[in-house]
Symmetry: C2
Subunit: 577 residues, 2 copies
C-alpha cells in the first residue's frame, strides 16, 4: 500500500517541467475563462445564485487535480448534475432561499461520501449497468428539460418552475403577450454569437464574449429600464468555511437524490476521462480511484460552499485540445476563478440572465442526440426502444424515475433474453468436421438417428424449463428412429445447481427412452458444476467429447447397445402440501 | 381455435371407461378422506373458521377437473397459500371476523383473475424466475412460520398471532406455566399417530384416524371440562352463492398479496403437475392453460365462499398412487366433501383444535428441507447462500418480502456474473487443432506473436468495459512481440449495440497499434448484429474464420504486412458538458 497510489499527482509532480507548464498554463487559462460564464449559468440551472457556480469551481478542482487519475479531466459544475440538484431539492425548499442553498451544499457532502465509499469498496463497476441507449435517451430528455427551464430567462417571462416539458411549453405559449422582446433579443444575440464563434473561430472563447457583449449592452443602453433582468450584486470574496448541518430527515430525503447524482455524475466523468486517456498513453484511468477522488472533491467542496460537481465533457475536451499535460492545468483554472472571486465579481452586476440562458441552451441542445436514435433504429431495434422508453420516461415521470426505468428495463431485457435463449439444431457442413445451425444454412447434413443441439446461453434456473421443453419438442419431431442426443455445450458458459438438476433429469428420462446422450465441448466452469453436483459420474466421462464430430464417430463405432437405465426413477417427495 | 383446447376434459370424457372409473373412485375417495381434516386445518392457518376449508374443497376441484391439463393434480386448500392469505389480510382485519372472511373470499377472486389473465396473455414463463434455492429457502421458512403458528393450539395457550418466529418462541416459553397439558397430550398423540401410521401403515388415512381419536377422546372423557379447546359448531349445508364486494381501497391493498399468491401457488401447482405428468405419457401439462384453469377455479370458488386454492403436493401424490386416471377422481373427492357438508358436520363438534394443529405440524415440518441446503453447500456455494438469504429474509422480514428478496437477488447474481464473465487465453492442444484455456491445462502451446482469447458470455453493455480492460491487460502482458489478436467468438451468444461499439473501438485501437485482429466461430445472432451495426465491412469478411486453427493458419500464410489504420480516429463529441 504505497501512498502514491492514493495521490496520483505524485506521479507527475517530481518530473514536472517547463514544457508541461506551458501546455498547462494555456489550457488552465482557457478553461478558467470558460468556467466563469458556465459556472454562473449552471448554478442558475441548479436554482442557486450565480456565485455558487464560481465557488464550485475552486477547491474541488484542486482536490481532483491531486487525487484523480486523469490528467486532463476538468472537474466543476456541469449541466446534468445541476439539473439533478434542482430536481432533487426543489421539492424540499424554494429555489434560492437559505435553506435551499444549505441543502445543495449538504447534497454535495452526501454525494461525496457515497462516491468515496463506492470507490473504497471498489464498486465502480456499478456504472457499467448504465447502458449506452439508456444514457443517450436520458441525456436527450434531460437536455430538453434543462433547455426549456431557461425559456423564462430567454423570454423575460415568469414560468412556474416545472420539470414537465409540455407544461413549460403551454405556459410559455399562453404568456406570449408578456414576452420582453429586448430580453429575447439579447438572449438570441448571445446564442447566435456563441454558435457563430464555435463554428468559425474555434480559438475565441465565445461564451465569455457573449457575457461581455451582454454586460456592455445592458450597461451602455440602460436596458434595465426596459425590464431586462440582470444578475445584480455578486458578492466579492472567497467562499467561507462552513460545516453542512443536517438531521435524520434531511438524510432520508437527500439520500436517493445523492445516490442518483453519485452514479450519473461518475458515469459522465469516467466516460470522458477514459475517452481522453485513450489519446494519452502515459497514464491509466482507474475507476475506483476516480470515485474516491470525485468523492473527496465533493466533500472538500461542500466544506467551502460548493454544490455537487463532476468531470464534464466540453471543458475536458477544451482542456485537452488547449494542451493540458497534468492536473496543474486545473489548478491554474481554479486560481483564475479565485482571482475572479477576489476582484472581478462587481463586473457581473449588469450581466443579463438571458445571456446565461443562452450559454446553457447552446450547451445542452447539442446533447440532444437524434443521430444515435436513428442509428439504433437500423442497428438494434431493442436498443432503440430502450432509448425511447428512457427518453419518454424521463420527460413524463421525472429525472431519477426515467433513468431508473431505463436501468431496470435494460437489465430485465437481458434476463428475459437469457431465459429464452437462441437454441439450434446442428447439421454437418458437408465434407468438414464442422456442425452449424440447420435453421440458418441449407446444405447441412442431418441424420434421422442423431439429434445434435446447441444451447446458446448459460443453463440456469430461469431457462431450464425452456431447455427441457425445446429438447422434448425436438425429440418428438425426430420420431422413432432417433438413437442419440448430442448436446453441444460450446456456448454454455455456466451452469447453476438448477441447471445440473435439469440435466440430470434429462439424462434419466433419455436413458429410460433408450436414447444415448453425449456432451461435447464442455467448458471448465460447467465441468466444475457437474463435478460438485455429482453429475459427472452419472453421465460418465466416456460420454463427453471435445467436439461434435468425435461424439458422432464414437456413436457410429459402437454396436449401438441399448443402455440400461442407470439411475433411480424420479420419485415425488410426498411429505405434505 | 378449437373449444377442446380450452376444455382438456373433452379429451378423456368421450373415451371414459370402467377401468378408469375404478382407479378414479379409489383415488377420489382416498383424497376426499384426506381433504376433510386437511381442509379444516389449513383454513385454521388462514385464520378462517374450519368450514371454509371444506367450502374450498368443492367447486374449485370440479372446475379444475374440467379445465386443467393435469389428470392427477389435486386442487384445494394448501398450507403455503393459507399462510400467505393470513399474512396478507391479517393486516387488514381481525382473524375470523365477517370482514376478514369477506376479504379472504375477495382475495380468491383477485388471485383467480390475475392467474387467468397471466395465462390468457401467456405469461406462465414468469414462474421460471423463481429459482429452486429460492423456493427451497422460502418453503422451509414458511413451514417454520406455519408450524409455530400452531404452537398455541398444540399447547392450549394464547399467543398473539405473529409472523416472527422468535417472538412466537419467546412468548411460548414465557407462558410455560399456562400450558394445558391435556391439550398438549392430545396434540402430541395426534402427531405420533399420524407419523406412526405414515411410516408403518401407508394405506391407512392417518389424519382422519387422528381426527376420530381426538373427537372420541374429548367426547368420551369430557375433556372440554379440562379446558381443551374444540372446533365447536360447524354449520351444516353447502356454501351459498355470494358476490364478493369491494372498493378501490380493497383492490389496492389486496393486489400485492394476490400477485404473490398467484405466482407462488402456480409455481407449487405446476411443479407437482409436471412431476406427475412425467410418469404418464398420455397427456401434456400446458403451463398457460394451467394458469387459466387455476384462475377459473379460484374465480368460481370465490362465488361460493372459497378462499384461494391451488394444486398441492401431498394430495396429488396420494391421488396418483391411489390410481387416479382422470379428473373424475377430483370430482369424486368434491362429491365426498359435499356429502360431508350436507350430513357429517355435526360430528366435528368435539374435534379438538390441537388435532388440527397436529395435522398441520406433521405436514409442514416435512417441508423443512435441510438436505437441500447441505447438498447446495457442496454443489453450488452461491445457490447455498441464496437459499439461506431467502430463508432468513422470509423469517426476519416477512413472507412476501422474503420471496421478493430471493427473486431479486438471484437475478442480480446472474446479471453480476455476466458482467464479469469467465474469460480465457487459449493455447493449442499439442498435435491437434483444438485450443483450450491455458489457465486450466498445463501442456498447451502458446506463441509470443499470437494472443488468442475466448470471452464466455454475451457481449453487452454491462460487460464491455470488463472485456476491453481484460484484453488490454492481456495485450500488455504479451509485450512487443505480439502480432495478432484472435478473438474466439464460440461462446458469445449475443451482442447488443454497445457490444458492437466496443468491438469497433477495439478494432480501431488494435489497427493503430499494428495488431491484426481475427474473429473465429462467430454465431448467427452475433453476425446479424455486426451486419446491422455496419461493423462487418470494417472488420472484413476475410478476417473471420470458422475455427481458431484456420485463423492461425491464415495468419502464418500471410507475409505479415502492417495494415494501415482503416478508420477515422476516435474523436470526442465536444458539444457541451
Amino acid at each position: 500500500m504505497k501512498i502514491a497510489k492514493f495521490i496520483p499527482a505524485l506521479d507527475w509532480m517530481p518530473k514536472y517541467n517547463g514544457t508541461q507548464l506551458k501546455g498547462d498554463l494555456s489550457a488552465g487559462l482557457t478553461v478558467g475563462v470558460m468556467l466563469i460564464p458556465q459556472g454562473m449559468a449552471y448554478a442558475m440551472i441548479a436554482g442557486l445564485p450565480p456565485i455558487y457556480g464560481l465557488y464550485a469551481s475552486t477547491i474541488p478542482l484542486i482536490i481532483y487535480a491531486l487525487l484523480g487519475t486523469s490528467r486532463q479531466l476538468a472537474v466543476g459544475p456541469v449541466a446534468m448534475v445541476s439539473l439533478l440538484t434542482a430536481a432533487g431539492i426543489g421539492a424540499l425548499a424554494d429555489g434560492g432561499t437559505e435553506t435551499y442553498i444549505m441543502l445543495a451544499i449538504t447534497l454535495a457532502l452526501f454525494v461525496g461520501l457515497i462516491q468515496f465509499l463506492l470507490g473504497a469498496f471498489r464498486l465502480g463497476f456499478l456504472v457499467n449497468f448504465l447502458s449506452h441507449p439508456v444514457i443517450s435517451g436520458f441525456t436527450s430528455a434531460a437536455a430538453l428539460i434543462i433547455g426549456l427551464s431557461q425559456l423564462k430567462h430567454l423570454l423575460g417571462i415568469k414560468i412556474e418552475s416545472s420539470h414537465y416539458v409540455h407544461e413549460v411549453l403551454i405556459e410559455a405559449v399562453s404568456k406570449f403577450g408578456q414576452i420582453n422582446w429586448v430580453t429575447f433579443a439579447i438572449g438570441l444575440g448571445g446564442i447566435m454569437l456563441i454558435m457563430g464563434i464555435k463554428r468559425y473561430f474555434k480559438a475565441i472563447p465565445g461564451q465569455l464574449l457573449a457575457v461581455i457583449f451582454g454586460i456592455l449592452a445592458v450597461w451602455g443602453f440602460g436596458l434595465t429600464e426596459q425590464g431586462v433582468k440582470i444578475v445584480g450584486e455578486v458578492p466579492k470574496g472567497l467562499p467561507s468555511l462552513s460545516l453542512p448541518s443536517f438531521n435524520m430527515d434531511t438524510i432520508q430525503s437527500l439520500i436517493p437524490v445523492a445516490l442518483a447524482i453519485s452514479l450519473v455524475s461518475f458515469m459522465e466523468s469516467i466516460a470522458v476521462a477514459k475517452a481522453i486517456q485513450a489519446r494519452h498513453k502515459n497514464y491509466k484511468v482507474e475507476p475506483n480511484q476516480e470515485l474516491m477522488a470525485l468523492g473527496l472533491a465533493n466533500i472538500g467542496g461542500s466544506l467551502l460552499q460548493s454544490y455537487p460537481v463532476t468531470g464534464g465533457f466540453s471543458r475536458t475536451a477544451v482542456n485537452d485540445q488547449a494542451g493540458a499535460k497534468t492536473g496543474m492545468a486545473a489548478i491554474i483554472s481554479a486560481i483564475l476563478i479565485v482571482l475572479t472571486l477576489l476582484f472581478l465579481t462587481p463586473l457581473f452586476y449588469y450581466l443579463p440572465n438571458a445571456i446565461l440562458a443562452s450559454v446553457i441552451m447552446v450547451a445542452v441542445f447539442g446533447l440532444i442526440d437524434i443521430k444515435e436514435a436513428v442509428h439504433l433504429w437500423h442497428a438494434d431495434r431493442s436498443d432503440f426502444w430502450m432509448l425511447i422508453v428512457t427518453f419518454i420516461g424521463t420527460l413524463a415521470l421525472g429525472i431519477e424515475q426515467g433513468i431508473g426505468i431505463g436501468v431496470v428495463l435494460s437489465l430485465a431485457v437481458i434476463i428475459f433474453q437469457t431465459s429464452r435463449p437462441h437454441m439450434a439444431e446442428l447439421g454437418k457442413v458437408p465434407g468438414t468436421a464442422f456442425y452449424r445451425n440447420v435453421g440458418r444454412f441449407k446444405q447441412l447434413e442431418r441424420r434421422p438417428d442423431l439429434l445434435i443441439v446447441r444451447f446458446d446461453a448459460q443453463l440456469y434456473f430461469a431457462n431450464i424449463n425452456f431447455f427441457r421443453d425445446r429438447i422434448d419438442e425436438l425429440i418428438q419431431e425426430k420420431g422413432a428412429g432417433l438413437k442419440a442426443l448430442i448436446l453441444n455445450f460450446d456456448s454454455i458458459n455456466n451452469m447453476d445447481s438448477s441447471g445440473v438438476h435439469a440435466l440430470e433429469e434429462l439424462f434419466t428420462d433419455s436413458r429410460n427412452r433408450k436414447l444415448n446422450v453425449y456432451l461435447t465441448g464442455v467448458k471448465g466452469p460447467v465441468r466444475d458444476a457437474m463435478v460438485k453436483g455429482h453429475l459427472i459420474d452419472k453421465i460418465g466421462e466416456d460420454n463427453m467429447f471435445m467436439s461434435v464430430q468425435e461424439a458422432v464417430d464414437w456413436h457410429d463405432a459402437q454396436i449401438v447397445e441399448q443402455p440400461e437405465p442407470k439411475f433411480h426413477e424420479f420419485t415425488l417427495q410426498t411429505n405434505a402440501e
